[in-house]
């Protein structure tokens, strides 16, 4: 057969592609379960990190069980939604719905010193792909206790710095609402955030679009969780 002819070339390409596709599909099916488990463990590690509990792939399950006392899903009005499990909420789908229609997962953590923190889950868009995060909030429903962010494909050294402690630690002690209870969120400030500012953190140099995306994500989800957080506040005053 003529190896340089069109028929041979087309046949060759077709067979090659089918063989490769079958092989990859098989591998993907084979490893799917393991990968899903890894992702769940990574999620638990992130959640724990937002309340400053360090964990790794080996002990994340246990620590999660110890620290996270309850998890549930709330709606825009701040009411609990029955029949949905917090860990199984697919934020990639939720983020496409309008703020009023989303499901909002909440994880209640009790720390060793007896304090109770509420962890909320966020998702938004960076420069190259999705970004996400977990923010833990004191029981006043206003002060941020800790935050952890992740990203799929932000530029290493620039936007990708949002998953570093240097950036995340800035959020500790920031407040979501002002003194009269209006939502102000936390702004990502280009340049230097003034010392002691309650609603500002420093942006990442060279990571402007990621920083802006993060700011938009915070705003949008604080809005979504607003009623839930305000309910916490009124409960803690009673």
């Amino acid at each position: 057969m003529d190896k340089q002819g069109n028929t041979y070339t087309f046949m060759y390409a077709a067979v090659l592609v089918i063989v490769v596709a079958t092989l990859l599909a098989m591998v993907s099916q084979l490893l799917k379960e393991r990968q899903a488990r890894n992702e769940l463990v990574a999620k638990k590690t992130d959640i724990l990190q937002s309340v400053s509990i360090e964990s790794n792939a080996r002990n994340a399950e246990d620590k999660f069980k110890n620290a996270i006392k309850a998890s549930y899903v709330v709606n825009f009005k701040g009411e609990k939604v029955d029949g949905v499990e917090a860990l199984s909420v697919d934020m990639a789908k939720e983020v496409r719905k309008s703020v009023e229609e989303r499901h909002y997962p909440v994880y209640e953590a009790s720390l060793e010193n007896g304090e109770k923190k509420y962890i909320i889950q966020l998702r938004g868009t960076g420069l190259w792909g999705p970004i996400w995060g977990y923010v833990s909030i004191n029981d006043d429903g206003n002060t941020i206790y800790g935050a952890t962010f992740g990203h799929k494909a932000e530029t290493p050294g620039l936007g990708a710095e949002i998953d570093k402690p240097v950036f995340q630690d800035q959020f500790k002690g920031k407040q979501i609402f002002d003194a009269s209870g209006n939502l102000v969120s936390v702004m990502v400030n280009k340049g230097k955030a003034p010392q002691g500012a309650l609603h500002e953190v420093d942006a990442i140099s060279g990571g402007t679009i990621t920083s802006k995306g993060l700011e938009a994500m915070l705003k949008s989800f604080f809005q979504g969780y607003e009623n839930f957080l305000k309910n916490l506040n009124s409960e803690s005053h009673e």
Binding site: Y12, A13, Q35, A153
Partner: protein, 220 residues
């Protein structure tokens, strides 16, 4: 070399492995694969995993292309090479996600970018298409290792001087610079973490190599 039927580890074959480690090094002499050498060398662990991944992809793509070399229509040979390299890279990515999730998160986009690593397509075109499978496998290991050695050297110095630690796969981060140094006023050089220092470290390695091996110095 394609008619070479000598012993598996004949001197000629061994040279396929040793040459890329020194005088034919893909990074310092051929200046291929520089991009990922800059990107994944801030810590030792990703550099080691990246090296192993590249050796794996290079070994098997060389082997497969060499086995198929007499059947590949020359008009679509680049596409065939790409499909095979891409399939192997996806395989590596999937395996890392299943068995080394943390590392796969750190390497993120760079695993996918192995496809575009110039070393791989370069070796397929220059070697595997014209040689028998066994020498091709050795050539793949040699060039992958030559790439890996430089990556690991660069990562070693960048992490040691930049963070004062070394991170090994399976062991985790080990602090190398003792605390007492910091109390005496030693400070980590944060500049080492940034990409430009990778370029400078690679430059220093090239300088050292050329001053020891004058044959590599171009005449003016």
């Amino acid at each position: 070399m394609s008619n070479d039927n000598g012993p598996l580890f004949s001197a000629k074959n061994m040279k396929l492995i040793t040459a890329p480690l020194g005088a034919q090094n893909p990074i310092t002499v051929q200046v291929l694969g520089i991009c990922s050498a800059l990107a994944v060398t801030a810590k030792l662990e990703p550099a080691i995993v990246m090296s192993i991944s590249v050796i794996f992809v290079l070994l098997f793509s060389n082997l497969i292309i060499s086995l198929l070399r007499n059947t590949i229509p020359s008009r679509i040979r680049i596409i065939v090479q790409l499909v095979i390299v891409a399939a192997l890279v996806i395989l590596v990515d999937q395996i890392l996600k299943a068995f080394a999730y943390d590392v796969s998160r750190q390497l993120s986009v760079f695993v996918g970018l192995i496809i575009t690593n110039c070393i791989i397509m370069g070796r397929l075109e220059a070697f595997a298409l014209g040689n028998r499978p066994w020498p091709s496998v050795l050539d793949g290991i040699g060039n992958g290792a030559g790439y890996g050695v430089i990556l690991i050297i660069v990562a070693f110095f960048r992490e040691l001087l930049g963070s004062g630690t070394l991170t090994f796969p399976g062991i985790g981060t080990v602090q190398i610079i003792p605390d007492i140094f910091y109390q005496w006023g030693y400070v980590n050089n944060g500049f080492m973490i940034l990409p430009p220092m990778a370029l400078i470290v690679v430059g220093i390695i090239i300088w050292v190599q050329r001053s020891r091996n004058k044959a590599l110095v171009e005449s003016n």
